[in-house]
Symmetry: C2
Subunit: 133 residues, 2 copies
DNA sequence: CTGAATCCTATGCGATACTG
DNA sequence: CAGTATCGCATAGGATTCAG
């Protein structure tokens, strides 16, 4: 197969010739959603199984309740997670990945693995630039 | 091989037990950088070959000069792109992917392909939620 | 042509307090 | 427990102008 960079480049050249409208471009649309600080973290945590609201809050200690709710709502409307409310007292709400959400684990895992493998190189590059300045 | 969601979940469970410090977590660090509106777009455009500043500005019509410069600088300090300045008059600056930047094309392509393949499903989910409200 | 500098606005996000 | 409502700040990022 061709080099990934070539394939990626070709793809974008084809796009910008035709429809580069940000509302229609799937990639820009996706990145505008899951490109925030929390979406990917929550998806990664939900990948290990359904979790309750408070469990997610503990798993991602530095998220506020506000952002946890908001991010989960966005992920729900985009079809990544399913929200299951048990009408008990006190209420119990369980979040889980939908099939769509699970399928997203594949590209996300690719990103995570790249980050792990190349983080040292990125840090080295930063150190070089810092020293040059 | 195991399911990607399982692998992703296991990875994050192992992490949050140990070092979930955002300054050290490679994934959070990476996403804080290329999770913005422009980084991935520029990387994708550079994937098709070296480009000059003005060519990139044309390729991504809705980026301001300010953000184009700033984003390219960040990508440069992180070792994704190389900046080649020709000291002519007027100056000519060419940006190209480093080997690190090229290697990132692989996971990015995975993300792009997922977005293309599943965008319709995401839109359908949004439509369902909009109608339910 | 490739920026740097300045100004301004929009909004992401945290903190806190309240509710069923 | 699982939110909602309100406030306020810090930052992303556009528009414009200046410079080498």
């Amino acid at each position: 197969m061709r080099d990934a960079a070539e394939a990626l480049g070709a793809k974008f050249q084809a796009w910008q010739a035709a429809a580069f409208d940000e509302t229609r471009c799937p990639v820009r649309n996706l990145l505008d959603r899951i490109g925030d600080r929390w979406s990917t973290l929550l998806l990664a945590n939900l990948a290990s199984g359904p979790q309750r609201f408070s469990a997610l809050a503990r798993a991602v200690p530095d998220i506020s309740k506000r952002m946890l709710t908001q991010t989960l709502r966005t992920l729900e409307t985009d079809g990544f997670v399913h929200r299951d409310v048990q009408p008990t007292v006190p209420p119990s709400v369980t979040y889980s990945l939908t099939p769509l959400g699970r399928s997203f684990a594949t590209p996300l895992l690719g990103l995570v693995e790249w980050a792990e493998a190349n983080f040292a190189d990125v840090c080295a590059a930063r150190a070089r630039m810092a020293e040059a300045a």
